[in-house]
């Protein structure tokens, strides 16, 4: 009802809680106001008077928002879950890109073409690719982190700036011949800070949209893990890094999926779907691993590598399996619903 829009907009603006929580509070207030106004109209008041009287019960929006903010302390105060989830996204994305685009990674020999065409130095092209590949992750990290933790998108850069020990880790990575990509990220902290930080802020602004959160959880996060799976099959010298990426992908995405329902308060059944997505993700990694070894055994080549054809077959198998599982789940849901309504 349009009569309440102005009041609810003021209420929302004065709330100092996460966008998701503010959505819920405003939606709840709207249903209450509409129910009360309908009752008042039924008792004989005209539309305008009914709306005015309904709003009066809530009181001044700033005062109401203050009380609600105070009552929703968990949503207002520092949230380690949101922060960790955002950092996990950036960490997973960084490791995945490292496995893909680092020295010996899947994209390593492909960007020499870019260097040649653009006349860029090897390190410049590498940085460009890294920044582009990590941009979606920065948006997602911002969405998950929300307004208070949008900066988590710039985690790798912030970590470099504030923690020298990370540099020691990078040196160790170089010593044990991990992809040099980690160093590429670390030597461009300012550019990364600006780009990812800005994108994180853009993501945080859109965190209020449930559809975008779904998109972030079910599309982007698994996408990075699938990229890690590709890296597992295709990396040459980056095999160790690929394994690391997969391990951290699983941990990071599990943390993301477990914490997301709590923070986002999405509709019922989401937790089950999150766990389902995680199972599919794990399945995809296992299938890739098996496919790469099967290809090495029966078609020649070295274990740990997979051709485009092998990857296509594995991806198709996973897609069919996922579709079948999803179809079965929907069928069971429909059956259960039919039983309940009878």
């Amino acid at each position: 009802m349009s009569e309440f829009n102005a009041y609810l907009a003021k209420l929302r603006a004065a709330l100092d809680v996460s966008p998701a929580r503010a959505d819920e509070i405003v939606a709840e207030a709207r249903t209450h106001l509409e129910a009360k106004a309908a009752e008042l109209r039924a008792s004989g008041l005209n539309r305008e008077d009914a709306a005015r009287q309904a709003v009066q019960g809530f009181g001044e929006p700033g005062e109401m928002a203050g009380q609600l903010t105070k009552a929703n302390g968990r949503w207002r105060e520092f949230s380690p879950f949101r922060m960790l989830a955002g950092i996990a996204v950036m960490f997973v994305a960084t490791l995945t890109v490292m496995a893909l685009a680092g020295h010996g990674g899947w994209l390593d020999d492909r960007w020499s073409w870019l260097n040649h065409r653009a006349g860029l130095a090897q390190s410049s092209a590498a940085m460009l690719i890294w920044l582009v590949l990590l941009a979606p992750a920065a948006l997602v990290a911002g969405m998950i982190g929300g307004r208070r933790h949008w900066w988590v998108a710039a985690t790798p850069a912030v970590l470099f700036v504030v923690t020298l020990p990370l540099y020691a880790v990078a040196m160790w990575a170089k010593a044990v011949q991990l992809p040099e990509g980690l160093l590429h990220v670390l030597v461009y902290p300012v550019a990364a800070l600006l780009l990812w930080g800005a994108l994180g802020r853009v993501g945080a602004r859109h965190a209020a949209s449930k559809a975008l959160r779904h998109w972030a959880i079910f599309v982007i996060a698994p996408l990075y893990a699938v990229l890690a799976a590709v890296a597992l099959g295709t990396a040459l010298n980056g095999l160790t890094a690929a394994f690391m990426a997969i391990i951290f992908s699983e941990i990071g995405i599990a943390a993301l999926l477990v914490t997301a329902p709590r923070e986002c308060r999405l509709e019922a059944g989401l937790r089950a779907r999150c766990l389902g997505a995680l199972a599919v993700l794990g399945g995809a990694l296992v299938v890739t691993l098996v496919a790469s070894h099967a290809e090495a055994m029966y078609l020649g080549g070295s274990p740990g590598r997979i051709s485009v054809l092998g990857w296509a077959i594995a991806a198709t198998a996973v897609t069919v399996l996922t579709g079948a599982l999803f179809g079965y789940h929907r069928w069971r849901e429909a059956k259960s619903k039919a039983t309940t309504t009878q």
Partner: protein, 111 residues
């Protein structure tokens, strides 16, 4: 009879928990129910109820969920958690102890 705001403030938490003991309810329904059952004594305003409900949710005494309604807008229902039930039992015991003590004093003074 006009309600004493101090008394209402002290008991509204107990009343809300008690209301939710039997079945999940939404905010507007709770206000109506409190008013009807108390014959108009408890006229709780939205400005008092919602911050309280959110505080109870924050403390883990109640849990809220959106429920779709047929041909009606969805509503946010609150229901008592196991922790909320324990809190209710504790508050009930405190309340009974308090009212009993008050009654004893009042009766003794009357005699």
């Amino acid at each position: 009879m006009k309600a004493d705001p101090q008394l209402v403030k002290g008991t509204v938490r107990l009343l809300v928990l008690r209301l939710l003991e039997r079945e999940p309810r939404y905010g507007y329904e709770m206000i109506r129910h409190l008013k009807d059952r108390s014959e108009g004594y408890f006229q709780l305003g939205e400005g008092a109820l919602y911050p309280l409900l959110h505080e109870l949710e924050e403390q883990g005494f109640v849990r809220a969920e959106w429920r779709e309604q047929e041909n009606r807008p969805r509503r946010r229902y609150y229901h008592l958690t196991a922790r909320g039930k324990r809190e209710l039992a504790r508050r009930m015991a405190t309340w009974e102890g308090f009212t009993k003590a008050v009654d004893l004093v009042l009766e003794a003074s009357h005699v």
